[in-house]
């Protein structure tokens, strides 16, 4: 055997575990990832978009963009948010309580930290694939076609992680999966509706707008929108990305601590 073989980092070994399981689903997943944004684009573009664009002054509030062009980056980033959060709920609880796959991994040469970082890498892949599907769908429409979609996919992945890692930390400690429905209802869906994806936060009462700014979603949506509409402000961009990064870092750290406690008692 080759003794000079470079060892594979633990998180990547965990990633290969996720990939084996995903092998069965990825085609269906990518396909629905394409169809869903198409439906949104048709529904919002033909229905809401036509109304909004007809309303004088609306495009000014939207920064000069047509409504679909305004909404498109929002769709991209909210998709990553929903996926990152959702895939860090039941699957994480399953790894600990149902299939107990995390326990199996912890019995090997890998560590709880590898499991958490491996989940992060896996979420990068998953949200990357899903956001790319959305971007591909958006590229079909003249109003939303833009080179800015490419950096927007990366921003979406970053936001996906900013939800995946804190939600993972939550899921490790959760006793009942009922808590997940609550996160969906009280965090994910409200952010989807009030997080700046479908209209500017300036339309909201100040208190709610402020709340929306605390979550990482809005920062990603604003960034992605600057990319697709060609209005990037570099200074602000760094702040937005950095702020999202705080969520990623805090979530990862907390998840790693909790995973170690949970798996080694």
């Amino acid at each position: 055997m080759n003794t000079h073989r470079v060892t594979t980092p633990g998180p990547l070994r965990v990633l290969s575990w996720h990939l084996v399981a995903y092998k069965r689903f990825w085609k269906a997943n990518v396909l629905s990832g394409l169809v869903q944004p198409l439906l949104y684009m048709l529904g919002l573009g033909v229905g809401v978009g036509a109304l909004v664009d007809r309303n004088t002054g609306a495009t000014e509030v939207l920064g000069g963009a047509s409504y679909v062009a305004f909404v498109a980056p929002g769709l991209l980033v909210t998709t990553a948010m929903a996926l990152g959060a959702g895939e860090s709920m039941w699957p994480v609880m399953g790894g600990l309580k149902w299939s107990r796959g995390y326990h199996a991994i912890a019995a090997t040469a890998l560590t709880p930290r590898d499991i958490v970082l491996g989940h992060g890498v896996w979420m990068t892949v998953r949200t990357g694939l899903a956001s790319s599907s959305v971007a591909a769908a958006l590229a079909l429409f003249p109003d939303t076609r833009s080179w800015g979609l490419i950096p927007s996919v990366l921003i979406a992945v970053w936001v996906g992680l900013a939800f995946a890692m804190p939600v993972m930390a939550f899921s490790i400690k959760a006793e009942l999966d009922g808590a997940f429905a609550a996160i969906q209802r009280f965090v994910v869906i409200p952010l989807f509706l009030f997080g700046g994806a479908f209209y500017p936060l300036s339309q909201l009462p100040a208190a709610i707008a402020w709340l929306a700014r605390v979550a990482p979603l809005w920062h990603g949506v604003v960034m992605a929108r600057q990319c697709t509409t060609g209005t990037v402000q570099w200074g602000a961009a760094a702040l937005h990305l950095g702020y999202i990064g705080l969520w990623v870092a805090a979530g990862t750290t907390l998840a790693a601590v909790r995973m170690r406690k949970r798996l080694s008692t």
């Binding site: 055997m1 073989r5 060892t7 594979t8 070994r13 965990v14 290969s16 575990w17 084996v20 399981a21 069965r24 299939s99 107990r100 796959g101 326990h103 199996a104 991994i105 912890a106 019995a107 090997t108 040469a109 890998l110 560590t111 798996l263 080694s264 008692t265």
Partner: protein, 308 residues
Amino acid sequence: MSEALITARNLVKKFGELTAVAGIDVEVRRGEAFGFLGPNGAGKSSTMRMIGCVSPVTSGELRLFGMDPATDGPRIRGRIGVVPQMDTLDTELTVEENLHIYGRFFDIPRAECRRRTKELLAFAQLSERATSVVDNLSGGMKRRLSIARSLINNPELLLLDEPTTGLDPQARHVLWDRLYRLKQDGVTLVLTTHYMDEAEQLCDRLVVMDQGRIVAEGSPRSLIEQHSTREVLELRFPAGRNEEHGPQVEGLGERHEVLPDRILVYARDGEEALAAAHARGLQPESALVRRSSLEDVFLHLTGRTLVD
């Protein structure tokens, strides 16, 4: 004498106020088949989890291959195989995928993984089910797959926590046969069980645990010789009347135990004791003479049966 793979000195495990393991000393040498025998809650699984380097030691000293689990956990785990009490297989994946992916956790190169997978499928008598989804396997097959999986990294030491609990007798015998083969191949086995027949079949040496402590240690035969008689006479009286017959069997053997459903008379010669019982005019519903087992050892040491 071969080297010690596991050394535990005054090993303690506490969960808050609860003391699961109350200071045990254990030494397991290379090539041995070593057992922890005891009822549920005796501290066997807690001990196994500490040895498996997934549960930190509360106090005392534990060394595997001379290394400390607290600092060398991943390195130690790379050299051992673990069959947990509850299967942790990926039930949505196929049999061979389960083996292959487990090999990847140890960073075994893909080609080597495939070769090992093939070998282990044959060993576990699962070659024909290689592409079956695990969910569709029987309990015995899942157990064999768990064992095969634990062997993917060629472990020097194999830990088995209640390997046959919940299996039907035939599946248990198939499993024992596989474990016996491993033992012959020189793999060091450490297992927990509350089945005395399992301990007798597989273990060269064992400790009997009760309430977090070791109450006896030795080979199955020496434990029986030390703590029991050669034979046991079991007398069954009508339900609820065993207690009252207790005094009447006094002196038939060296000692006796009254259980809810039967009386056990410990004697060197069971037939002789039975003849004596009949001579006393005792008329049990049924009588049975058998050899002493570890169950009797446990009963004698703790006053309780292993499986309640």
